[in-house]
């Protein structure tokens, strides 16, 4: 019953999306607002229908309907209800339905805005969003359908949507969710990432609508500013939550392993961030119109590409737990949408030309452009790092067929790991941070080295304090000293920016500095929200530099009651217990921590082995302070007995600033996007 309901709703939405596309185009052709209104209603109707479909699947997941193949693949009786619900996006087929549901939610929300001034955009926004939705529905219906059932036929078990002749329903053996996914992180990380992905479809839809309708002024940018900001926030939050999840569960002492799927999720963030910056130039200086459209096309293509990478199984990594045959369809879709979008851009090339020109290499707009160049450069590095191993493997057939080229096209699988990304993208990220410390102080329009120098010398001088402090603290490596100075300088510029404006207000009005600061932010959310986002990036950079450059670690086997030393920390192994549940066996150690020979807490690192998959999951013991984290892992490859165990201990300096920075980033993005009373959009 629920299976048919979910399937029926899914199929109806698919048909409806085609109707909506057709009605919108027909409405434009016949200049009939009624047809466009009907297309809008079709778009709005997709949301309740997909909600019904998603709820049906959740019902099946929660109630253990193992006759549905997807339910058996991602749930088991032993899983708690909250994890059964998250299993909606825990596997391929369910996540495609979830993606579609989020897409329809966002598109419907856009439909509910006032369209009085923007009637010409409406049909094309409907067409673009519905085409994207229809593609995902096509996959969810015909390639990876979450409602397929298991049937017992005279020839044995068969998986099919509808009852084969002479067959009856059977129950599949429940496998349960991948143990690494059985974590609270599963509740937040994938939905946030998906929200980021789908919400970037909105600015893309408006850009395409602007190109098709010929209204190529900056109206589409003004309308989508908050949508873009929301998309960027969701994507950033999704990435950070993924980092935290990795830090808490994967047990390697780090937060980001440059795994191909992690890099894939980062890809849309890079042109998305560049777009957020470059739209400011179009709004302020009426420049870079072509570039903005190109960036939003690149962001959309990256969203689809990232989904393809994570969903198609083309990469086999810790994340790519699902494999299916949807790859070629994704490829065709990315190709068609990108080529069409670029063709539209070329078609409207002349109408996007502007009469305003850049005056100086040291102007703020030039700095924004440089920021865009750096973000695109990081995108190129990351894209190539993900794609090259796939190409290498895929071109192996050339070597097989042409012996002369056998040495060149070996088809050998290669790894592109952290060393490549750190060497290639590291300096680019550093340059971006440096630019963040220069750009806010550069002037719009005509600017020279002299004016720029005059603006930056004070924070530059103040930042030298950080250099001295780091040197006094014992840092000697030139690269580490430079990194600390860089973070200090970028931070000093933001503080200087706030301080200067607050002081000006304080002198004029007599308000105290805190009140002046508050009024400043409330009077210009966008500017000071942006500055706060920069501050959050500085804090995150501090955390990243701390763990990347100053992490120390040791590993050793210690008998019960003995200690292992790392810097000024010492851990004493005091107990080991094993507990068993219906799903896994868990071994937990008790560790007494000493810092400078004084007691500093008790940790419980553990390792669980899941019965169904045999997969071990390592949970670190964590002592977290603003100064550093002590991260202890009960190593799982040594024999463990009550007499002795092996521990791996990491000291991760300053890493908490990464998470604190992320919280500030969320708050600051809200500030930046909050409507201002005197200006309406």
């Amino acid at each position: 019953m629920m299976t048919n309901l979910g399937l029926g709703a899914l199929f109806l939405t698919f048909v409806l999306s085609f109707y909506g596309i057709g009605a919108a185009i027909y409405g434009v052709k016949t200049k009939s607002p009624a047809w466009v209104a009907s297309a809008r209603n079709a778009m709005l109707l997709t949301f309740p229908l997909l909600t019904l479909s998603a709820l049906s699947l959740i019902y099946l997941l929660v109630n253990g309907h193992y006759e549905v193949e997807y339910v058996a693949r991602v749930t088991s009786d032993a899983m708690p209800v909250y994890l059964k619900i998250t299993a909606l996006w825990g596997g391929q087929a369910g996540s495609l339905l979830f993606w579609s549901w989020l897409m329809s939610a966002f598109a419907s929300a856009v439909m509910l805005r006032k369209w009085d001034q923007d009637r010409e955009f409406l049909p094309w926004v409907i067409v673009v969003t519905l085409i994207t939705l229809a593609f995902f529905l096509l996959l969810a219906l015909f390639v990876e359908n979450p409602f397929r059932r298991v049937w017992m036929t005279p020839d044995g078990l068969k998986i099919a949507l509808f009852q084969p002749a002479g067959a009856f329903l059977a129950r599949a053996v429940p496998q349960g969710l991948n143990p690494l996914l059985r974590h609270y992180g599963m509740v937040f990380h994938p939905p946030m990432l998906y929200l980021g992905f789908v919400s970037f479809v909105i600015p893309f839809a408006f850009a395409i609508a602007a190109l098709i309708s010929g209204r190529t002024d900056d109206r589409w940018i003004r309308i989508t500013r908050r949508w873009t900001l929301a998309a960027w926030l969701f994507l950033s939050a999704g990435l950070v939550l993924g980092m935290r999840w990795a830090y808490d569960v994967l047990g390697w002492g780090g937060y980001w392993g440059w795994d191909a799927v992690e890099v894939a999720a980062l890809l849309p963030w890079l042109p998305g961030t560049a777009f957020l910056h470059s739209v400011v130039i179009q709004e302020k200086r009426n420049m870079l119109k072509h570039w903005n459209v190109a960036l939003v096309i690149l962001t959309y293509a990256s969203v689809i590409f990232a989904t393809f990478l994570t969903r198609s199984g083309v990469l086999s990594s810790v994340h790519a737990f699902a494999e299916s045959s949807i790859g070629p369809l994704f490829f065709v879709f990315i190709g068609i949408t990108s080529v069409t979008a670029l063709a539209l851009l070329l078609w409207r090339w002349n109408s996007l030309k502007t009469e305003v020109h850049m005056a100086s290499l040291f102007s703020r707009e030039a700095m924004f452009l440089l920021n865009n160049l750096l973000l695109v450069a990081i995108f190129i590095v990351c894209f190539w790092g993900v794609v090259f191993p796939v190409i290498t493997e895929a071109t192996g057939f050339i070597g097989t067929r042409v012996p002369a080229l056998a040495n060149l096209f070996t088809g050998q699988k290669i790894t592109v790991g952290a060393p490549y990304y750190e060497r290639a993208a590291g300096p680019l990220f550093a340059a971006l941070l440096l630019l963040m410390g220069i750009c806010p102080l550069a002037a719009w329009g005509h600017s020279t080295v002299k004016t720029l120098g005059r603006a930056i010398w004070k924070p530059l001088a103040a930042s030298l304090v950080f250099l001295v402090l780091a040197f006094v603290a014992g840092v000697r490596q030139p690269l580490s000293l430079f990194a600390i100075w860089l973070v200090g300088y970028a931070g000093a510029v933001i503080v200087y920016e706030f301080g200067r404006a607050a002081l000006a207000r304080h002198r004029q009005t007599g308000e105290n500095l805190l009140a002046a600061l508050n009024r400043l932010v409330s009077r210009n959310h966008r500017r000071y929200g942006g500055a706060l986002i920069h501050l959050s990036i500085v804090l995150m950079a501090l955390g990243i530099i701390g763990i990347e450059m100053f992490q120390t670690q040791t590993q050793g086997s210690i008998p019960l009651g003995k200690t292992l030393k790392l810097g000024n920390y010492e851990i004493m192994y005091t107990d080991l217990i094993s507990t068993s549940s219906s799903t896994h066996e868990k071994t937990t150690a008790t560790i007494n921590v000493f810092k400078n020979a004084r007691p500093a807490g008790i940790l419980h690192p553990s390792r669980a082995v899941y019965f169904d998959s045999g997969q071990p999951v390592t949970m670190p013991g964590l002592r977290s302070t603003l100064e550093d984290d002590l991260y202890v892992i009960l190593v799982d490859w040594e024999d463990i007995s009550a007499q002795g165990a092996t521990f791996k201990v990491y000291r991760n300096p300053l890493v908490n600033w990464l998470w604190l920075g992320a919280i500030l980033l969320a708050v600051a993005t809200f500030v930046a996007g909050w409507p201002e009373r005197e200006r309406g959009t």
Binding site: G257, D259, I414, T415, G556
Partner: protein, 165 residues
């Protein structure tokens, strides 16, 4: 299948013998976990991709770390150990592909692409600047606005002055 297991084992034993012979000390030296991890961190799990060997929990990686310990005890260098695993599993055990043959593209394409984008940006900038200068001389009234160190602060101060009056 048997041949696939036998060949690397013979090769490994052979290398162990050569390594031992070339080592300064004939007796095995005590090797700490940290020394094993220092080598393992530069290698990747050959089965579960993208996981560095020092943190990989799979059985294959546990065995590889035990092998590395033995090799270090026999006096092998980090380079020798890495070469051994490359021979055995291919380039995939390295964190970055070695720069030879087709792999050169891995290192050449990104800088070329970045330089190409930078060149496009610079070229556009020069064109803008040239046409801006031409326009400046032709019609001074449409010049770009003068440099304002901080337009918002300036506006703010102007507003406040007005309010004070």
């Amino acid at each position: 299948m048997k041949k696939r297991v036998l060949l690397p084992t013979v090769f490994f034993l052979l290398l162990l013998t050569v390594g031992a012979a070339s080592a300064q000390s004939s007796t095995p030296v005590a090797v700490t976990d940290d020394q094993v991890n220092a080598v393992a961190s530069e290698l990747f799990c050959p089965e579960c991709e993208n996981i560095p060997l020092d943190v990989c929990p799979s059985q294959a990686c546990i065995d590889m770390r035990a092998e590395i310990r033995q090799m270090l005890e026999q006096g092998w260098t980090k380079g020798q150990i890495k070469n051994y695993y490359v021979e055995r599993y291919g380039d995939r055990v390295l964190g970055t592909p070695p720069a030879r043959g087709w792999n050169w593209l891995m290192y050449v394409i990104p800088p070329v692409a970045i330089l190409a984008v930078a060149w496009i940006f610079y070229n556009s900038f020069r064109t803008w600047k040239r046409s801006s200068l031409t326009k400046d001389t032709q019609s001074p009234e449409i010049q770009s606005p003068p440099a304002v160190a901080d337009d918002y602060v300036a506006r703010l101060e102007a507003e406040l002055k007005k309010a004070k009056k």
